[in-house]
Amino acid sequence: MSATEALLRVANIETYYGPIQAIRGVTLDVNQGQIVTVLGANGAGKTTILKTISGVMDPERGQVVFEGKNIAGMKPDRVMREGICHSPEGREVFPFLTVHENLVMGAYSRHDKDEVAHDLEACFGYFPRLKERAHQRAGLLSGGEQQMLAISRALMGKPKLLLLDEPSLGLSPILVTQIFDIVKRINRERGVSILLVEQNAHIALKTADYGYVIEVGRIVMEDECVRLMEKDDIKEFYLGQKEAGVRGRRRWKRKKLWR
């Protein structure tokens, strides 16, 4: 990856919750048209990275460069206007607004009415369920439908870079597959670059092009997803494939190599 063509370059960011350091110097790139995933366990700092990029949290040190412009420390509504749309963890839809109103709010910063209407149809095309429920309150949707809405709402902002935080959270396996298929279609058809944060390493590695593995606020491994999937450590600790030892038993004390 060359630094010049990266759409987003996060360089050595350190982010704190009060006195607690959540991100300890993370560097990652998202290139134009790529799906990049950040894998990690609970509390590793995945969500914090996304929040730092979208401006909800400010990094103590380091830079967030988007299209050659440092956006670290900008307010979230300004960051969004630069072309980064965030579909947050836990959906965070507006519960008392209808599905349609939620989507219109996604396009709040835009003034190209015709294109907005066009994008609305496109979203309904990706998720026909949302069209059926367009005039229901978002709070009454099922978890899966709310996730579809959260992704569509972010898409309505016409992002150059889409931040997806745990789109698989709380969904049935079949719905997860469907949603990730559409995420891939969005990327291929609309050329939207995607930064995807996931606990479900299996589906994330299948969907993304490039992956980072994060532990306790640090990146411990990065590679093409195809190659990541072949690594023993990833297989053992993230994909849950058990490896039999010489005696036909699982080696229960095996250490991660990056430690």
């Binding site: 607004l97 709070g139 709380g170």
Partner: protein
């Protein structure tokens, strides 16, 4: 017949003062829904609105409608500035700090009004003063009727604004989920200041509508306490609830003043409030949706 007419008159008068409570309560609720702050200075903003209208109409001799309109705009601008300069800074502080701050602001507003406009009651001529309207044999004061009509029109305008315009929906969105609103590129801080502006503007309208019925004086802001009861009655956080709560408090008060021994009038709003809190603690119009996981 005599009794029915009397009752109708009492109800209309009660509904009129109830509308005023309702409008103040509306201001409480709008701000509470958006920022989770309770603005105890709401009644005093009503008082300021009334005084500004008095200056424009009585002192400067402007036309009533023009003066009223300008007074509302000025008060709304004042509400905007109040949030942008003062109250924005206490977001995230303990609830208690906000309560003390708004109570303190109320004191400041009263002192300010006393210095500028004096401590005597004042009033100004309105198109509704001392006129009556006949409704099928019942004689009603135009002042009271104008309050009710004005409130209904204002509510209609606000309803359309909040449900039909992009800015109005963005205000709802920011109230429901501030973080998500930020993610959508909605300038949440400005939106909150605009909500303060609307609340202050509504309070000014209430002050102006009230002026033919009661004089404007420095302490009229204490109406806010009854309006607070109305807001809680409606289930703090519900806009229709605030208005209905206000009207209920107004009518009950009026009827108690006529049928019950003297002195009971001022207590009734609190008695109603207590009854509702015991029987239906979430208020009459609670809005509840659980978050799905």
């Amino acid at each position: 017949m005599e009794d029915a007419a009397r009752l109708l008159q009492l109800v209309v008068n009660g509904a009129a003062s109830g509308c005023i409570y309702g409008l103040i309560a509306l201001g409480f609720v709008l701000i509470y829904k958006a920022t989770e702050m309770i603005n105890f200075a709401q009644g005093d903003i009503l008082m300021l609105g009334g005084f500004v209208a008095f200056t424009l109409i009585a002192t400067w001799g402007l036309n009533y409608w023009l003066g009223a309109f300008l007074a509302v705009v000025i008060t709304a601008a004042f509400g905007f500035a109040l949030d942008a300069l003062v109250l924005r800074r206490v977001i995230g502080q303990p609830q208690f700090a906000v309560v003390m701050l708004t109570l303190g602001l109320g004191f400041i507003f009263r002192a300010f009004a006393g210095i500028v406009w004096g401590y005597d009651s004042v009033g100004f001529e309105t198109p509704f003063t001392n006129r009556t309207v006949r409704l099928g044999g019942v004689v009603l004061g135009q002042d009271n009727v104008s309050i009710i009509v004005g409130t209904v029109i204002l509510c209609l305008v606000l309803y359309l604004f909040f449900n039909r315009t992009r800015l109005g929906i963005a205000m709802q969105a920011s109230s429901q989920n501030q973080l998500a609103a930020y993610y959508m590129g909605i300038p949440v801080r400005t939106i909150f200041s605009l909500i303060w502006a609307i609340s202050a503007g509504v309070a000014a309208v209430a002050g102006i509508l009230l002026s033919p019925v009661s004089m404007i004086d420095v302490n009229m802001g204490f109406l806010g306490i009854k309006a607070f009861a109305a807001a809680v009655l409606g289930g703090f956080g519900s806009i229709p609830g605030a208005l209905v709560g206000g009207v209920i408090v107004g009518i009950v008060e009026q009827l108690a003043g006529y049928y019950l021994p003297p002195g009971s009038q001022d207590v009734t709003s609190n008695v109603v409030l207590l009854a509702v809190l015991i029987l239906r603690p979430e208020g009459l119009f609670a809005q509840n949706i659980r978050k799905r996981v």
